[in-house]
Protein backbone atom coordinates (compact mmCIF):
# COMPACT_ATOMS: atom_id res chain seq x y z
CA UNK A 1 0.00 0.00 0.00
CA UNK A 2 1.30 3.43 -0.90
CA UNK A 3 0.11 6.93 -1.53
CA UNK A 4 0.67 9.08 -4.57
CA UNK A 5 -0.33 12.51 -5.71
CA UNK A 6 -2.30 12.81 -8.91
CA UNK A 7 -4.28 15.74 -10.30
CA UNK A 8 -3.29 17.61 -7.14
CA UNK A 9 -4.85 15.03 -4.83
CA UNK A 10 -3.35 12.40 -2.63
CA UNK A 11 -4.68 8.87 -3.23
CA UNK A 12 -4.04 5.39 -1.82
CA UNK A 13 -2.85 2.79 -4.30
CA UNK A 14 -1.79 -0.85 -4.15
CA UNK A 15 1.46 -2.24 -5.52
CA UNK A 16 -0.05 -2.60 -9.00
CA UNK A 17 -1.17 1.00 -9.09
CA UNK A 18 -4.89 0.38 -8.55
CA UNK A 19 -6.69 2.81 -6.26
CA UNK A 20 -7.78 1.15 -3.04
CA UNK A 21 -10.34 3.67 -1.81
CA UNK A 22 -12.99 4.20 -4.51
CA UNK A 23 -14.32 7.32 -2.79
CA UNK A 24 -11.02 9.11 -3.39
CA UNK A 25 -11.63 8.91 -7.13
CA UNK A 26 -12.91 11.76 -9.23
CA UNK A 27 -13.05 12.60 -12.93
CA UNK A 28 -9.86 14.63 -12.89
CA UNK A 29 -7.98 11.69 -11.44
CA UNK A 30 -9.53 9.46 -14.12
CA UNK A 31 -8.25 11.75 -16.86
CA UNK A 32 -4.72 11.58 -15.46
CA UNK A 33 -4.84 7.80 -14.94
CA UNK A 34 -6.10 7.41 -18.50
CA UNK A 35 -3.12 9.35 -19.81
CA UNK A 36 -0.82 6.99 -17.96
CA UNK A 37 -2.61 4.11 -19.69
CA UNK A 38 -2.01 5.71 -23.06
CA UNK A 39 -5.43 7.30 -23.55
CA UNK A 40 -4.88 10.96 -24.24
CA UNK A 41 -8.56 11.81 -24.42
CA UNK A 42 -11.66 10.34 -22.85
CA UNK A 43 -14.70 10.49 -25.14
CA UNK A 44 -18.36 10.27 -24.15
CA UNK A 45 -18.16 6.55 -24.93
CA UNK A 46 -15.24 6.14 -22.51
CA UNK A 47 -17.16 7.95 -19.79
CA UNK A 48 -20.22 5.81 -20.37
CA UNK A 49 -18.10 2.76 -19.60
CA UNK A 50 -16.31 4.35 -16.65
CA UNK A 51 -19.61 5.54 -15.16
CA UNK A 52 -21.06 2.06 -15.54
CA UNK A 53 -18.04 0.52 -13.78
CA UNK A 54 -18.35 3.00 -10.91
CA UNK A 55 -22.05 2.26 -10.49
CA UNK A 56 -21.57 -1.48 -10.78
CA UNK A 57 -18.77 -1.49 -8.21
CA UNK A 58 -20.79 0.67 -5.84
CA UNK A 59 -23.50 -2.00 -5.92
CA UNK A 60 -21.36 -5.14 -5.87
CA UNK A 61 -18.17 -3.99 -4.18
CA UNK A 62 -15.97 -5.26 -7.00
CA UNK A 63 -14.90 -4.06 -10.44
CA UNK A 64 -17.13 -5.54 -13.16
CA UNK A 65 -15.76 -8.11 -15.58
CA UNK A 66 -15.56 -7.29 -19.29
CA UNK A 67 -18.72 -9.23 -20.00
CA UNK A 68 -20.53 -7.39 -17.22
CA UNK A 69 -19.44 -4.17 -18.88
CA UNK A 70 -20.56 -5.08 -22.39
CA UNK A 71 -23.91 -6.36 -21.12
CA UNK A 72 -24.45 -3.66 -18.53
CA UNK A 73 -23.17 -0.55 -20.28
CA UNK A 74 -24.53 -1.60 -23.66
CA UNK A 75 -21.22 -1.45 -25.51
CA UNK A 76 -20.13 -4.12 -27.95
CA UNK A 77 -17.03 -6.20 -27.29
CA UNK A 78 -15.49 -4.70 -30.43
CA UNK A 79 -16.06 -1.14 -29.24
CA UNK A 80 -14.83 -1.90 -25.73
CA UNK A 81 -11.58 -3.28 -27.09
CA UNK A 82 -11.24 -0.37 -29.53
CA UNK A 83 -11.88 2.25 -26.86
CA UNK A 84 -9.39 0.71 -24.45
CA UNK A 85 -6.81 -0.87 -26.73
CA UNK A 86 -4.27 -3.45 -25.62
CA UNK A 87 -6.33 -5.07 -22.93
CA UNK A 88 -9.33 -3.31 -21.42
CA UNK A 89 -9.63 -5.58 -18.36
CA UNK A 90 -7.18 -3.87 -16.06
CA UNK A 91 -7.19 -0.54 -17.90
CA UNK A 92 -10.88 0.17 -17.39
CA UNK A 93 -10.76 -0.82 -13.73
CA UNK A 94 -7.67 1.26 -13.05
CA UNK A 95 -9.03 4.39 -14.71
CA UNK A 96 -12.33 3.91 -12.87
CA UNK A 97 -10.48 3.89 -9.55
CA UNK A 98 -11.39 0.28 -8.79
CA UNK A 99 -9.45 -2.91 -8.06
CA UNK A 100 -8.75 -5.63 -10.62
CA UNK A 101 -11.90 -7.39 -11.88
CA UNK A 102 -12.44 -10.55 -9.87
CA UNK A 103 -14.32 -12.73 -12.38
CA UNK A 104 -13.01 -14.71 -15.32
CA UNK A 105 -15.55 -13.70 -17.94
Amino acid sequence: MATRTIAGKEIQINNEGFMTIPSEWDQEIAVELAKEEGLTELSAQHWKIIDYCRQSAAMSGAAPTLRNITNGAGVSTKDLFALFPKGPAKKVAKISGLGKPEGCV
Binding site: R67, K78, F81, K86, G87, A89, K90, V105
Partner: protein
Protein backbone atom coordinates in the same frame (compact mmCIF):
# COMPACT_ATOMS: atom_id res chain seq x y z
CA UNK B 1 12.95 -1.28 -25.54
CA UNK B 2 11.42 -3.28 -28.36
CA UNK B 3 7.76 -3.44 -27.46
CA UNK B 4 6.88 -6.83 -28.91
CA UNK B 5 3.41 -7.85 -27.77
CA UNK B 6 3.01 -11.08 -25.79
CA UNK B 7 1.31 -13.81 -27.85
CA UNK B 8 -0.53 -16.96 -26.84
CA UNK B 9 -1.74 -19.71 -29.17
CA UNK B 10 -4.17 -22.46 -28.20
CA UNK B 11 -4.55 -25.79 -29.97
CA UNK B 12 -8.05 -27.13 -29.31
CA UNK B 13 -8.19 -30.85 -30.03
CA UNK B 14 -11.22 -31.93 -27.99
CA UNK B 15 -14.91 -31.66 -28.73
CA UNK B 16 -16.30 -32.37 -25.28
CA UNK B 17 -18.13 -29.54 -23.60
CA UNK B 18 -15.77 -29.49 -20.62
CA UNK B 19 -12.71 -29.39 -22.87
CA UNK B 20 -14.08 -26.55 -24.96
CA UNK B 21 -13.91 -24.05 -22.14
CA UNK B 22 -10.23 -23.88 -21.13
CA UNK B 23 -9.14 -22.09 -24.30
CA UNK B 24 -12.18 -19.83 -24.22
CA UNK B 25 -11.64 -18.74 -20.63
CA UNK B 26 -7.88 -18.33 -20.92
CA UNK B 27 -8.12 -16.76 -24.36
CA UNK B 28 -10.60 -14.19 -23.08
CA UNK B 29 -8.39 -13.41 -20.10
CA UNK B 30 -5.40 -13.04 -22.42
CA UNK B 31 -7.24 -10.63 -24.72
CA UNK B 32 -8.42 -8.62 -21.72
CA UNK B 33 -4.80 -8.25 -20.70
CA UNK B 34 -3.69 -7.10 -24.13
CA UNK B 35 -2.15 -10.40 -25.24
CA UNK B 36 -2.57 -11.55 -28.88
CA UNK B 37 -4.56 -14.77 -29.21
CA UNK B 38 -4.58 -17.37 -31.98
CA UNK B 39 -6.66 -20.55 -31.76
CA UNK B 40 -6.08 -23.59 -33.97
CA UNK B 41 -8.86 -26.18 -34.02
CA UNK B 42 -7.85 -29.71 -34.83
CA UNK B 43 -9.41 -33.16 -34.70
CA UNK B 44 -12.45 -33.27 -32.39
CA UNK B 45 -11.78 -29.65 -31.53
CA UNK B 46 -13.31 -28.78 -34.91
CA UNK B 47 -16.68 -29.44 -33.27
CA UNK B 48 -16.20 -26.16 -31.43
CA UNK B 49 -16.38 -24.19 -34.68
CA UNK B 50 -18.65 -26.53 -36.62
CA UNK B 51 -22.00 -24.73 -37.10
CA UNK B 52 -23.93 -27.97 -36.67
CA UNK B 53 -22.01 -29.08 -33.59
CA UNK B 54 -21.07 -26.01 -31.56
CA UNK B 55 -24.39 -25.77 -29.72
CA UNK B 56 -24.52 -29.52 -29.14
CA UNK B 57 -21.24 -30.22 -27.35
CA UNK B 58 -21.68 -32.72 -24.54
CA UNK B 59 -19.99 -34.17 -21.51
CA UNK B 60 -20.30 -37.92 -20.88
CA UNK B 61 -20.26 -39.45 -17.39
CA UNK B 62 -18.87 -42.77 -18.68
CA UNK B 63 -15.20 -43.25 -17.78
CA UNK B 64 -15.12 -39.78 -16.27
CA UNK B 65 -13.61 -40.47 -12.86
CA UNK B 66 -13.95 -36.88 -11.71
CA UNK B 67 -17.67 -36.68 -12.21
CA UNK B 68 -19.25 -37.62 -8.89
CA UNK B 69 -22.80 -38.12 -7.73
CA UNK B 70 -22.49 -34.85 -5.80
CA UNK B 71 -22.63 -33.04 -9.14
CA UNK B 72 -26.22 -34.19 -9.41
CA UNK B 73 -26.99 -32.71 -6.05
CA UNK B 74 -26.81 -36.05 -4.21
CA UNK B 75 -24.53 -35.47 -1.24
CA UNK B 76 -22.53 -38.71 -1.37
CA UNK B 77 -18.97 -37.45 -1.12
CA UNK B 78 -16.56 -39.31 -3.36
CA UNK B 79 -19.08 -41.75 -4.72
CA UNK B 80 -18.78 -41.79 -8.49
CA UNK B 81 -21.45 -42.18 -11.12
CA UNK B 82 -21.28 -45.92 -11.89
CA UNK B 83 -20.21 -46.48 -15.48
CA UNK B 84 -23.08 -48.90 -15.91
CA UNK B 85 -25.43 -46.01 -15.14
CA UNK B 86 -23.57 -43.74 -17.50
CA UNK B 87 -24.37 -45.98 -20.44
CA UNK B 88 -28.11 -45.60 -19.96
CA UNK B 89 -29.76 -43.62 -22.74
CA UNK B 90 -30.08 -39.97 -21.77
CA UNK B 91 -27.28 -39.95 -19.20
CA UNK B 92 -24.93 -37.95 -21.40
CA UNK B 93 -27.67 -35.45 -22.15
CA UNK B 94 -28.45 -35.27 -18.44
CA UNK B 95 -24.83 -34.66 -17.41
CA UNK B 96 -24.53 -32.07 -20.17
CA UNK B 97 -27.61 -30.24 -18.97
CA UNK B 98 -26.27 -30.21 -15.41
CA UNK B 99 -23.01 -28.70 -16.53
CA UNK B 100 -24.67 -26.13 -18.79
CA UNK B 101 -26.99 -25.10 -15.95
CA UNK B 102 -24.06 -24.64 -13.59
CA UNK B 103 -22.19 -22.53 -16.13
CA UNK B 104 -25.31 -20.52 -16.84
CA UNK B 105 -25.61 -19.74 -13.14
CA UNK B 106 -22.07 -18.39 -13.17
CA UNK B 107 -22.99 -16.32 -16.24
CA UNK B 108 -20.49 -18.19 -18.38
CA UNK B 109 -21.60 -17.75 -21.99
CA UNK B 110 -22.32 -20.72 -24.26
CA UNK B 111 -19.47 -21.78 -26.56
CA UNK B 112 -20.84 -20.07 -29.68
CA UNK B 113 -21.25 -16.74 -27.90
CA UNK B 114 -17.86 -17.08 -26.22
CA UNK B 115 -16.16 -17.64 -29.58
CA UNK B 116 -17.88 -14.53 -30.96
CA UNK B 117 -16.63 -12.50 -27.97
CA UNK B 118 -13.10 -13.76 -28.59
CA UNK B 119 -13.25 -12.90 -32.28
CA UNK B 120 -14.72 -9.47 -31.54
CA UNK B 121 -11.84 -8.90 -29.13
CA UNK B 122 -9.34 -9.76 -31.85
CA UNK B 123 -8.64 -13.50 -31.52
CA UNK B 124 -7.72 -15.24 -34.77
CA UNK B 125 -9.34 -18.62 -35.38
CA UNK B 126 -8.08 -21.28 -37.80
CA UNK B 127 -9.11 -24.84 -38.69
CA UNK B 128 -6.56 -27.62 -39.19
CA UNK B 129 -6.35 -28.74 -42.82
CA UNK B 130 -5.63 -32.40 -42.19
CA UNK B 131 -8.57 -32.78 -39.81
CA UNK B 132 -10.85 -30.81 -42.11
CA UNK B 133 -9.94 -33.18 -44.97
CA UNK B 134 -10.35 -36.22 -42.76
CA UNK B 135 -13.83 -35.22 -41.60
CA UNK B 136 -14.83 -34.04 -45.09
CA UNK B 137 -15.57 -30.51 -43.89
CA UNK B 138 -15.46 -27.20 -45.77
CA UNK B 139 -15.06 -23.55 -44.76
CA UNK B 140 -18.87 -23.16 -45.07
CA UNK B 141 -19.32 -25.71 -42.29
CA UNK B 142 -17.71 -23.37 -39.80
CA UNK B 143 -19.15 -20.46 -37.87
CA UNK B 144 -18.56 -17.03 -39.38
CA UNK B 145 -15.25 -15.48 -38.52
CA UNK B 146 -13.03 -18.57 -38.77
CA UNK B 147 -10.27 -17.05 -40.88
CA UNK B 148 -8.91 -19.97 -42.84
CA UNK B 149 -8.09 -23.66 -43.09
CA UNK B 150 -4.34 -23.96 -42.57
CA UNK B 151 -1.67 -26.64 -42.38
CA UNK B 152 0.34 -27.49 -39.29
CA UNK B 153 3.30 -25.77 -40.95
CA UNK B 154 1.27 -22.57 -41.47
CA UNK B 155 0.32 -22.70 -37.81
CA UNK B 156 3.97 -22.92 -36.81
CA UNK B 157 4.78 -19.93 -39.03
CA UNK B 158 1.98 -17.78 -37.65
CA UNK B 159 2.75 -18.57 -34.03
CA UNK B 160 6.41 -17.68 -34.05
CA UNK B 161 7.23 -16.22 -30.65
CA UNK B 162 3.91 -17.37 -29.13
CA UNK B 163 3.39 -19.41 -26.03
CA UNK B 164 1.52 -22.50 -27.21
CA UNK B 165 -1.07 -24.30 -25.10
CA UNK B 166 -2.37 -27.69 -26.22
CA UNK B 167 -5.79 -28.70 -25.02
Amino acid sequence: MADENRKVAFICSKGNLDMAYPALVMGWAALGNGIDVTIFFTFWGLDMINKERVDRLEVAPVANTSMKMTMMGVNTGNLGIPNVMGILPGMTAFATKLMKDKMDKLEVPPVREYLQMLMDAGAKLYACKMSVDMFGLKQEDFIDGVLDIVTAGDFMDMTEGSQIIFI
